[in-house]
Amino acid sequence: MAIIEIKELTKKFNKLAAVDALNLQIKEGEIFGLLGPNGAGKTTTLLMLTTLIQSTSGTATINNYDIHTQPHNVRKSIGIVFQDPSSDEILTGYENLKLHGWLYDMPDIIREKRIKEVLDLVDLTNRQNDRVKKYSGGMRRRLELARGLMHHPKVLFLDEPTLGLDPQTRGTIWEYIQKLAREKNITIIITTHYMDEADKLCDRLAIIDQGKIVILGSPKKLKKNLGGDIVRLKSTKLNISKLKKLSYVKKISSCNDEICLTIENANKHLQELLNFVGKVDSVEIHSPTLDDVFLHYTGRKIRESAPEGSWADKAMHANIQGGTKR
């Protein structure tokens, strides 16, 4: 039995379907990643699952409780770290955590123990008695995280938890998240724009775009599914439509001012490809990463879209219209 069961979940803002008939099951103890470009509908999905906004249609159960008919029980089963800061600036870091412990009815001894633990985790112990107003952006983020990790719910939602954190902190957070999942069997749903984070943490992930799941699977499987190596080319005169006719070119997409080709057995076909393309400014081959997977399924590189009307844009278009060769 899945701990989260999402059925045809839909949210419309006016005409725009931010989340479009989403279906998904998440197993207990799993770390599940939700990836997708800005505006894909990740946050909207989490807000519906955490009962903060009403869905337009469809529903979901969490820990066997329906988000519409049993929201109170859903809230008893969950915790969330929001994408936007939500602590009280006038209170100190410690007071914010204490408040959280009270709101979640934690026994005093456990509350104080956990506060120590999470403050230590995010390295805020010696700033705990400062008002949040005086924290830096990253420190606020760490406090939000600490608060979300404090009460050990059955299901924990993390909306871009490590946004803006330094690498050391991200590392310790990852370890802690993994520990929560492995040792406490806490189910974790995480959204992120850091592909390395998704790759390292997630047992499974879904890439969503325009409110719909485009692909679902383990990071390993998704990378393997790309079925080839990635060749990045930089050249001034690329003929996209001719490139598409080559049998070993599986997919063309734009990345910055370069073009990315997914090539079957690149070692073998590289010479042929280069001959075909002619003069190139640069070329680079690597085996697929999650970045490539993301790019492949969403047609653009994360958080970077080419300026309108550039050739990269047209390449993207050609790709969308022509579809992928399989």
């Binding site: 903060l52 109170h72 809230r75 006038i90 009815d105 608060r147």
Partner: protein
Amino acid sequence: MSELKGIYALWYREMKVFLRERSRVISSIINPLLWLLIIGGGLGSAVSFGGINYQTFIYPGILLQTALFSSIFFGVYIVWDKKIDFMKEVLVAPMRRTSLFVGKIFGGSTDTLLQILILFLIGFVFINIGLMPGLNLNVLSVAISLIFLLVTTIGLVSIGLIIGSQMESPEGFQLIISFLIFPMFFLSGALFPISNLPAWLAPFIFVNPVSYAVDGVRGALLGFSQFNITLDFGVICLFSIVMILIGTYAFKKMKI
């Protein structure tokens, strides 16, 4: 148990915030002082009602003014909570909306009562330096006044919370409440007796719950009242109960 803890948590937060916002505490003292000294002193040199010193006459009115302004204004904090997203943290917690409302009422009422206690202290000082003759502050009169003020405050805090729960911007909130609190203050008999009013004015005063609160407190502190004190108390109780019911409903419907 868990609901009580949640209510306590919210109250605790409101207290911390209130005590740390010095400007609010200070203006809550300065403002009524100015009214008492300038309006009370200035007009007092020219008018008196029923043989009562004018400053003394408006003192109960100023107590209610503080209750009115501070209580309704408290609703702005819920708009802020929504804006800074603190509301999300609270709404996603396993606490009933009703408890959230109750926690906010406790918080707002405590804020207001603290300010009112300061005003009572000012009253004592004034009496001792010979101002406000005829003002009778003793344990009983203060206790009765406090009961009146508490019940009224709860209803007024509810009004602020009801409006705040439906608003998205603090500016909008302020605009709306200014249309509410000024008429409620000026049409309450806080500054003048409500006998022999022009006929068009009287109905406004009679439907204003603050009029009954002013009358009750004035009855307790000055021995001068125009309605029956039981009627006064009945009306403000009814007012607060209705506001609590509407507020509970408004909070259930509140969106982030």
